[in-house]
């Protein structure tokens, strides 16, 4: 193993993956935002398989339009009983220098495992191993716990395919100090409840990332977005495309989500 690789931060794919799920779960809306809660819940149902699942994520980066790095990950995820937090295991398939490495996340507890070295390292939510860009964003995906939503209005927004969509615009505000995105603007198609776009802001109200959801296909029983396009809010020349495939409901044992199980991880 390369000396420095073990301490490389998780790639933007993780960040982006978080974004891909970020708006996918019901917000713990304030009482006055009941309609926003319902809209968001309907949108969540499109994004969220609702049962333990696995999928493959292919990532491609573009810098100033030119293709850059690619990456492949396998993701296994399930909702934690009680807390409603999502627990996830990510296995790196590509690039070759990282293949087989694992990252496990449950709540704010993250571990990184390198099977080649046999080492397992605790990392902070801000820290990411192995990778490319990250704004140190959360892997926390359960907005219901961390955000409250209000209906900010109705807008005709342009989707990634440059089509106008009549959308509900939702404003999500963090209710927990542990999240990286303190505010989210989120657009949901009025006709279909599909998520169209999200803009994610820092504590200082700086735009960190913009996400577009597209490529709706029948997956696990209903139409779900199979692509997310992420534009870096700070370096807007950096764009990452995530393609989701091989969706499958699968058994994801609770015992996977601890340090001691990572060395035994056998997904098949």
């Amino acid at each position: 193993m390369h000396e420095s690789e073990a301490m490389r931060p998780v790639p933007s794919p993780f960040a982006i993956l978080a974004l891909a799920f970020l708006a996918a779960f019901p917000a713990a809306a304030a009482a006055q935002a009941r309609s926003a809660q319902e809209i968001l819940a309907a949108s969540d149902a499109i994004r969220n398989p609702g049962q333990p699942f696995g999928l493959t994520v292919m990532l491609a980066e573009f810098r100033s339009g030119a293709p850059g790095q690619t990456m492949a990950l396998k993701v296994y995820s399930k909702e934690e009983t009680g807390s409603g937090q999502y627990r996830s295991l990510l296995q790196f398939v590509e690039p070759q220098r990282d293949q087989g490495k694992l990252m496990m996340k449950t709540g704010n507890v993250l571990w990184f495992h390198d099977p080649g070295a046999g080492s397992t390292i605790r990392i902070s939510p801000q820290q990411r191993l192995l990778g490319q860009a990250s704004n140190g964003d959360v892997v926390t995906v359960n907005l219901a716990k961390d955000y409250s939503a209000i209906l900010a209005g109705e807008e005709a927004v342009t989707d990634a395919d440059r089509q106008k969509r009549d959308c509900w615009k939702l404003e999500l505000k963090a209710t927990s100090d542990s999240v990286t995105y303190w505010r989210v603007e989120y657009w949901v198609d009025k006709a279909t409840d599909r998520p169209v776009k999200g803009r994610f802001y820092s504590e200082t109200d700086r735009l960190l990332k913009t996400a577009f959801y597209r490529g709706y296909e029948l997956q696990l029983g209903r139409d779900r977005p199979t692509e997310t396009i992420i534009i870096d809010g700070i370096d807007t020349a950096l764009v990452t495309r995530m393609k989701f495939s091989a969706y499958a409901y699968r058994d994801v044992p609770e015992s996977w989500f601890q340090k001691d199980s990572l060395g035994r991880f056998r997904p098949e």
Binding site: R8, T56, A160
Partner: protein
């Protein structure tokens, strides 16, 4: 080609893209966010779009090949000199690292990890003597039940949470056969496993394991360091047993407790825990303790075992050679900034190590007497091979900065500091990722300190290494 034409070409080639409508040209959308999306990102079949990753699963056989060239600098007038030490100005190394794992039968998996290093110092010719094999892992794992496992073979079990020193890790001593780096975290990763029979049960939020590691080679005589031998004299020189358990007590509190038994030694207890503080900070601590001799007594005993010293050798500097409850500990914090810089700071405590006054007396004795000099370097070697500090109190700092200045460039630096004399080992490293499989690394390190200090007494002043790694 204009963006407009490119977009048109994308659309033409994309043609039948399922469920996606042809996007209007850029600028027509009237949305600044959408205009930031390059056309290639909207269609994977577009010219210039990156190829899809070749794999969708992790292959059963993987590894890397390394080629490294190192230039070394040596002090010309050292106060002390280790017996038998060479001082080559250059060193070449090539390494092959292989790992294979797969299912052999339902519920039965096999794991094999082996590394070969060919290390040639200045003036040396290629010779079998310089080819070193490290069988890091070779074991079978049988799943008795979904969360109940049995392992048999050489297993690399690493415990503890710190980077620079792991008191809770009972299987680290003597397990590094080839020191390809002086970075403690790299040495930890590069070591040999221990032959053992291990059972482990897992449940939601907890685990328990029991193992037995037999004595397979009593280790009497010099270690088989320059050979392709499996090095059982390094890893299995005692009968040992261990019980390890962890249980989640709160969302972010899952301590690990370890008890290790070894023949002719008192049980040793270990504890390891980690905890996040906010989004960017992780704190970690590990401790081990039990009745044992101090570093000097242990080192002399090891010297007698290897027949470097006659039986009954007494330390030439008055030292506490009796057994007592002695602790080792490592406490650290990591902090990650928003610009991908992660910093670790650790304090290391080795109660059996040399105190400030011990160190001074040993240096004075070693300068005055060749016999004391021999003991002095023997105890330093013992601590080094045991992956533990030679002195009681020390600091370890590490910083790694991803995508530093360039997208494919990582920078890292570390320092191990003797708090008594201020001497330090420092290393800086730049890794450039030429491709997803190829990495070019430049490493420089140096020992700083007064000529009588811990790091200042080392003959090697520093080194620079360039290394090319190809993963497959």
């Amino acid at each position: 080609m204009s963006r407009l034409a490119t977009a048109a070409l994308v659309v033409a080639l994309a043609g039948s893209a399922a469920a996606q409508q042809a996007p209007p040209p850029k600028g027509a959308a009237g949305d600044a966010d959408v205009d930031l999306i390059p056309d290639a990102a909207l269609q994977s079949a577009a010219p210039g779009a990156p190829a899809a990753p070749a794999r969708t699963s992790v292959p059963p056989l993987r590894g890397s090949v390394e080629a490294a060239a190192q230039a070394l600098g040596w002090r010309s007038d050292p106060v002390l000199r280790a017996p038998g030490q060479d001082d080559p100005r250059t060193r070449l190394r090539t390494s092959l690292d292989l790992r294979a794992e797969g299912t052999l039968a339902p519920g039965l998996r096999g794991v094999l990890a082996h590394r070969f290093d060919l290390v040639l110092s200045e003036g040396q010719a290629v010779d079998d003597e310089h080819l070193q094999g490290s069988l890091r892992e070779a074991y079978l794992s049988y799943r008795l039940a979904p969360d109940l496992h049995l392992d048999l073979g050489r297993v690399n079990q690493k415990d503890g949470a710190a980077l620079g020193f792991n008191p809770a890790d009972a299987f680290k001593a003597n397990a590094v056969k080839v020191r390809v780096s002086e970075d403690p975290s790299v040495l930890r990763d590069a070591r040999l496993g221990t032959v053992m029979l291990r059972g482990q049960a897992l449940w939601d939020g907890g685990a328990i394991a029991a193992l037995y590691a037999p004595r397979l080679d009593d280790g009497r005589g010099p270690p088989e360091s320059l050979s392709l031998s499996p090095g059982l004299d390094r890893t299995n020189r005692q009968h040992r047993g261990q019980l390890k358990a962890s249980q989640r007590l709160a969302q972010d509190l899952q301590p690990e407790v370890i008890v290790t038994f070894a023949e002719q030694e008192s049980p040793r207890f270990g504890l390891s825990l980690t905890r996040a503080f906010g989004d960017a900070v992780v704190g970690y601590a590990e401790w081990s303790g039990g009745r044992r001799r101090g570093l000097v007594a242990q080192a002399l005993r090891e010297g007698e075992r290897r027949r470097d010293l006659p039986p009954g050798t007494r330390p030439l500097v008055p030292s506490d050679t009796g057994e007592a409850v002695r602790s080792q500990a490592a406490i650290g914090l990591s902090l990650t900034t928003g610009f991908k810089l992660t910093m670790n700071a650790e304090y290391h405590f080795n109660e059996g190590g040399l105190t400030r006054s011990d160190w001074r007396r040993w240096v004075e004795a070693a300068r005055a007497s060749p016999l004391a000099n021999g003991q002095f370097w023997l105890l330093r070697r013992f601590a080094g091979e045991g992956l533990e500090p030679v002195v009681r109190d020390s600091l370890f700092l590490r910083a790694s900065w991803q995508e530093a200045f360039l997208r494919d460039l990582d920078l890292a630096a570390l320092a191990r500091i003797n708090v008594y004399d201020g001497s330090a080992f420092a290393q800086v490293e730049a890794a450039y990722y030429l491709t997803g499989a190829t990495t070019l690394t430049l490493t420089g390190n140096a020992n700083f300190g007064h000529r009588t200090s811990e790091l200042g007494t080392l003959r090697q002043h520093g080194s620079v290494q360039v290394k090319l790694t190809q993963h497959f």
